[in-house]
């Protein structure tokens, strides 16, 4: 289980997270929505332990990520995969080498075992044909799939997705959504997805939380969000220009 208790974070004079509390159950797909720059990615980065909050706690299975030593942090991160917005592939390594990287660097298994695991993940994400290509030779959608293959290569229990469908065409977005659902059903992973894409959010979410100005405005099932009476959430999910949200 992932728990965030009263997280506050300020970068310079800007308050990015203001008393955020969330509880994400094991095996749940939890979607975080909100405008750009309201602190959605910062929540993911707090869970991944990229920074310590100014106040509050981040707990992964009861262990403090916010006070973790680098060794504990590394152990906690072994349970996690992170799909970055751009894919964050190492540009001088091929698709296969990128996916194999965590296994090679941590010397997990023999070369044959690593090849077998990598082939399995590439097949799951339909990337077998692109295995020997370089990141510069593949499309944005493929880069995200390679990033996802790399994120799941060590069979993490938690996957953090940072805008997995941004910049993709609707067909590719649906493909990525299908993969997220597949991860949940086949690998039983806990997923936290940051997105602006409401169609995608409704498709994949067990619960949705809307963030506004660094705070959680509403948290509920997709149905509850669809039928909300909160004017801020309504304006956002309907994509209206006029309303209480300052643009």
């Amino acid at each position: 289980m992932i728990e965030l208790h009263n997280i506050c974070k300020r970068f310079g004079s800007k308050i990015v997270l203001d008393d955020v509390s969330l509880k994400i159950e094991d095996g749940e797909t939890f979607v975080i929505i909100g405008q750009s720059g309201v602190g959605k990615t910062t929540i993911l980065r707090a869970i991944a332990g990229f920074f310590n909050p100014d106040s509050g706690e981040v707990l992964i299975d009861g262990i403090h990520m916010d006070r973790a030593t680098s060794r504990v942090k590394a152990n906690l991160r072994e349970k996690m995969g992170f799909l970055f917005q751009s894919g964050a592939l190492i540009n001088w390594l091929s698709v296969r080498e990128n996916v194999a990287l965590p296994l090679v660097e941590h010397r997990i298994g023999t070369k044959e075992e690593i090849d077998r695991i990598v082939d399995e993940k590439l097949e799951l994400l339909q990337l077998t044909d692109a295995a020997e290509k370089m990141p510069s030779d593949i499309s944005g959608g493929m880069k995200k799939r390679v990033g996802l293959a790399r994120a799941i290569v060590r069979n993490p229990r938690i996957i953090l997705y940072d805008e997995p469908t941004s910049g993709l065409d609707p067909v590719m977005s649906a493909k990525i959504d299908e993969l997220i659902i597949k991860m949940k059903n086949e690998l039983k992973v806990t997923s936290i997805v940051v997105t602006h894409d409401m169609e995608s959010a409704y498709r994949i979410a067990d619960r949705i939380a809307m963030i506004y100005k660094g705070s959680v405005l509403q948290c509920g099932t997709p149905e509850e969000i669809k039928n909300t009476t909160n004017p801020f959430v309504r304006q956002f999910i309907e994509g209206r220009l006029h309303g209480p949200i300052e643009v």
């Binding site: 970055f84 751009s86 592939l89 990033g147």
Partner: protein
């Protein structure tokens, strides 16, 4: 009112100077700590041999043409200036001694340092900065892969090897440039020139020159990697990291070069 505005502008002037000084102190500390972290990671150098060799190729072999031209023409300019003047006094025989001394003690390491700052240091800073702003370094951390071991250590080791190696090459070519001028302009034979060069080689000059080039290699790679690792704000940040790493490396090469010279030739050792 006017006085208050004046006081405010004075305050903000000193405030910005203070902030810049604090940042420089922090950055110097960060660079030094980064180097020592890389030093600790050198126990994995054998496992990272492929990356080290790749970096050696990029910094060393690819920069050889530029090194050759700079060393040859640097040597020719140096010997031309001194030789023409000395010839007026019938002292052109001193040119070989002068050339080997200057190249060994100072110019070999200095010229190579300047070339590799522009050639490899800038590339290292830009490459790491691009990786930083495109979240690749965060991705490494997320996979529990130490960026110092994966990225910084191979680059530092590569320049620690390549800078002294290229420095020797620069000395040889610089001295050869001097030989060409001595032969065509000053009337010395190649045999006489190299005989005098051989007589004027001092072990201390050689090891001081090599020590300088080793230190320059550490300075260039550490500063460039540090600037790359702290880059932010997209393409602008990449440009800034590259620019600052080149300027800082140049300045540090000059300053540290002086102190090494003062240490070994200023009566301290």
């Amino acid at each position: 009112m006017e006085n208050i505005a004046k006081e405010k502008s004075i305050y903000s002037f000193f405030h910005s100077i203070g902030q810049k000084m604090l940042y420089q102190i922090w950055f110097s500390g960060f660079t030094i700590v980064l180097f020592f972290k890389a030093l600790l990671q050198m126990r994995f150098a054998f496992a990272k041999r492929r990356e080290i060799v790749k970096q050696m190729y990029v910094s060393g072999i690819k920069s050889m043409l530029v090194c050759s031209i700079v060393a040859l023409f640097g040597g020719m300019i140096l010997s031309l200036h001194t030789g023409v003047e000395l010839k007026r006094w019938g002292q052109q025989d001193v040119v070989p001694t002068l050339m080997i001394n200057v190249m060994n003690k100072e110019m070999g390491a200095f010229l190579t340092g300047i070339i590799l700052t522009a050639f490899s240091g800038a590339a290292m800073a830009a490459e790491l900065a691009t990786m930083k702003v495109s979240e690749e370094i965060d991705a490494l951390e997320m996979m529990s892969i130490n960026p110092v071991r994966f990225l910084v250590m191979p680059r530092i080791v590569a320049l620690m090897i390549m800078l002294p190696t290229l420095s020797i090459y620069t000395v040889i070519l610089g001295v050869f440039g001097g030989a060409l001028i001595s032969y065509f302009q000053l009337g010395l034979t190649f045999e006489d020139y190299y005989h005098r060069v051989y007589e004027s080689i001092w072990l201390k000059d050689m090891y001081v020159g090599l020590l300088k080039s080793l230190v320059f290699g550490i300075i260039i790679s550490s500063i460039s990697c540090a600037n790359g690792l702290i880059a932010e704000n997209g393409a602008e940040g990449v440009g800034r990291a590259t620019r600052i790493s080149v300027v800082s490396s140049y300045l540090m090469i000059l300053i540290v070069g002086y102190f090494i010279t003062a240490l070994f030739y200023g009566g301290f050792l």
